[in-house]
């Protein structure tokens, strides 16, 4: 009885009561099928004008994969899938089709380190057998590397189309000309990499200045393990929203939005980060739309005699099984029957999912759970406000003419430096849905105009779902300060590329 009462007092944590079979983190294990394929499970997608001082001529794009990594997860840790391709797509003309695709492909080489045991050299079972640094990889048994290619044109079905010729060119190291980049080892622990800033220095040695074909300005590239940056109050949610009594309701101020630590703060993820010159990726419009996908081959044969290099045999067409742009869409918007279909769909075909946005279930569930206290869902169908936020972009801010689920960034809007960013993103720029840039706290550089690491998308989306952008007659609870009580803000991140911070070490 008491726990149920606490459940009902948790005005803001209610979302999970509806989604108890999935992990409610931005996009971690959000669809049934992707839970079988963690190496290609995209978790978060960020796209923002770089706020590192002196870099405002660039856009940083980060696609995170491989969720919920426990830092101690050796001896194999968390290499990406060498049989898969990981793509970052950009649409710069508003047709919901990629004009630029950055394709990452990985290779994992085994050094076959061995030690003498009696009369023979016996291969070791470990990830490394000594200290590792950027200049000393001799003790590292597994060495990951990758290539990045850029393709131009429509990538439909991963084949060039007559109407949109597409081809691939290699991104290369601007200093050496190399086309293959080293991916740093995961953060095994402080004995391997030395005490802080040992791993940090090692990882930073893997940030590359890169030459991008057909671009006059170099970009930057980093792929490697990072500390999970997404914050969400997760554990109590799945225990029937069984929150401590002190965690009650109402993100009326920063303190009340920061009552509990993020449940996944001790996890790591793997980031694919690019910093691209705006001049290189912008089309005629100032709005760039982006999303990430991962594809695997259609056929996987598990043979009777696997080796390190070939544990399976994979063949067939590359087929998309993971997709992410706007956070939480496939978690709390798309219904369970269509989650796998959404993971496989392309933005151009998103009309099939429109009903989940125009007639969302989440506000109705919030109303049922907290209606007794006076909470009510918006009384507007179709939800044009959500269509603008998720499918078209907001007119005058980041609309680009298409209706598709993509993250849209207006690169003409100014950068907000770290320390001045509003964790509620651009939400404060609207008064009952009317763009009001003079409103106190307005930060147009934030979500849903792209997404920065410090944008608290859980709080923003809860409020928008309940009608923050609508008038009070249409959205009786639209101005309530919904929060999950776990804060994301800019102070939690670095002020330099790749922004996401040093991963949690496997051992201290």
């Amino acid at each position: 009885m008491q726990s149920m009462k606490r459940v009902c007092s948790m005005m803001t944590l209610v979302v999970a009561a509806t989604t108890s079979s999935v992990v409610w983190a931005s996009s971690h294990r959000e669809a049934p099928f992707i839970t079988k394929n963690p190496k290609v499970d995209s978790t978060d997608f960020y796209m923002f004008r770089s706020y590192e001082p002196g870099r405002d001529g660039f856009v940083t794009i980060i696609a995170n994969y491989l969720p919920l990594q426990d830092a101690y997860g050796g001896p194999n840790y968390f290499p990406l899938d060498p049989e898969a391709v990981y793509d970052i797509h950009l649409d710069n003309n508003g047709d919901a089709k990629e004009d630029l695709t950055f394709r990452f492909q990985f290779r994992n080489d085994l050094a076959r380190l061995a030690v003498p045991a009696g009369a023979q050299m016996t291969p070791v079972p470990l990830h490394n057998i000594g200290m590792v640094s950027a200049g000393n990889l001799g003790a590292l048994n597994i060495r990951e590397s990758y290539t990045v290619r850029v393709g131009r044109g429509d990538l439909k079905d991963d084949r060039p189309l007559l109407a949109g010729f597409q081809f691939w060119e290699n991104v290369s190291n601007a200093r050496t000309g190399d086309r293959r980049f080293a991916k740093p080892s995961d953060n095994v622990g402080t004995k391997t990499f030395g005490p802080a800033p040992g791993y940090d220095n090692y990882a930073k040695a893997h940030i590359y200045d890169v030459r991008i074909p057909r671009c006059n300005t170099n970009g930057r590239l980093f792929v490697g393990q990072r500390r999970e940056g997404f914050a969400v109050n997760l554990g109590t949610i799945f225990d029937l929203v069984n929150a401590p009594a002190g965690v009650v309701a109402g993100g009326v101020d920063r303190a009340s939005r920061n009552l509990v630590p993020s449940t996944i703060a001790d996890k790591n993820i793997t980031s694919l980060a690019l910093e691209l010159p705006i001049s290189c990726i912008k089309g005629r419009s100032d709005v760039i739309a982006g999303w990430t996908t991962a594809k695997v081959k259609q056929l996987r044969v598990i043979g009777p005699d696997p080796s390190y290099e070939h544990p399976t045999f994979e063949a067939g067409a590359l087929t998309q099984i993971s997709r992410l742009s706007m956070p939480l869409v496939n978690e709390v918007v798309i219904g369970l029957p269509d989650k796998d279909a959404f993971s496989a769909a392309e933005p151009r075909n998103d009309a099939q999912f429109a009903r989940y946005v125009t007639n969302p279930s989440l506000p109705e569930l919030l109303e049922i759970l907290f209606g007794g206290a006076g909470v009510a869902a918006p009384n507007l169908f179709p939800r044009a406000d959500l269509v603008a936020a998720f499918l078209t972009g907001v007119t005058g801010v980041n609309a680009n003419g298409s209706t598709a689920e993509m993250q849209r960034l207006n690169v003409a809007l100014p950068v907000t430096p770290k320390g001045q960013q509003n964790s509620l993103g651009a939400a404060q720029c609207f008064v009952f849905g009317v763009p009001t840039p003079t409103n106190p706290g307005c930060d147009l550089a934030g979500f849903p105009n792209g997404r920065r690491p410090g944008d608290d998308v859980v709080d923003i989306e809860l409020r928008v779902a309940m009608g923050f952008l609508l008038s009070r007659d249409l959205a009786p609870s639209g101005q309530l300060p919904f929060t999950d009580a776990s804060l994301n803000e800019d102070a939690q991140f670095d002020n330099a590329f790749p922004y996401l911070t040093t991963p949690v070490p496997g051992a201290q």
């Binding site: 029937l240 009326v252 009340s256 269509d338 049922i368 209606g371 909470v375 007659d473």
Partner: protein, 207 residues
């Protein structure tokens, strides 16, 4: 050897997309029909004006006679029942002698206040036996919760204030016997409507 055999029989490009698309069309059409039927009380703001409806309220069970003793509260539900089951249980065990949301809605209609929709909501939120909300065309929310006793209804005011008062400071509470009315989304432009709702509820008698 096995690998080579597989390669030979593989078509160069296998796509299941057409099958998937046909399935999606079927699902979409079926869903659209189902939604059309199921959501009769929530009207599209673009196609239909708001209308008064109580269709979404469950039909209450027959009430015992006035001179019957009050029914015993139902046995507590286990914590792990689904939301749907819990709502059904609450709808089937409403307390006798409580002012009901349906009565408020009818009375508001008689006074010319348009109620755009109603819905049963979770009573457990306030430890009530049953709750339902009504939303007016102006967006005023009138939540009526039914309790086992007048004391429980009065206690729920304090409880609601304590737990929800911070994010929702501008609500108004009216108790009437075993029932509690919570009016939310108050603002100057609906003040007179709120006053009418409160007075109407206060004047109702339990059925």
């Amino acid at each position: 050897v096995i690998h080579q055999r597989v390669v030979i029989v593989l078509p160069p490009m296998v796509t299941l997309a057409p099958v998937r698309r046909r399935g999606a069309v079927i699902v979409l059409v079926a869903s659209a029909l189902a939604c059309h039927r199921a959501d009769s009380s929530r009207q599209s703001s673009q196609s239909n004006p708001p209308s008064i409806s109580t269709a979404s309220l469950p039909v209450p069970p027959p009430l015992p006679g006035d001179d019957d003793p009050a029914p015993q509260p139902p046995a507590p539900l286990p914590e792990n029942v689904s939301l749907t089951d819990r709502l059904a249980r609450e709808a089937s065990s409403r307390p006798a002698g409580a002012v009901r949301s349906e009565a408020l809605v009818e009375a508001l209609k008689a006074r010319g206040i348009a109620v755009t929709r109603t819905r049963q909501v979770l009573g457990k939120t306030l430890d009530a036996r049953y709750c339902a909300i009504a939303v007016t065309a102006a967006g005023l929310v009138a939540s009526v919760c039914e309790f086992d006793s007048e004391a429980a209804a009065r206690a729920a005011v304090k409880d609601s204030e304590q737990r929800f008062g911070k994010p929702m400071p501008d609500r108004r509470f009216v108790t009437n016997g075993k029932s509690l009315l919570t009016i939310a989304n108050l603002r100057d432009t609906v003040e007179s409507e709120a006053t009418t709702v409160a007075a109407t509820f206060a004047a109702l008698t339990a059925t």
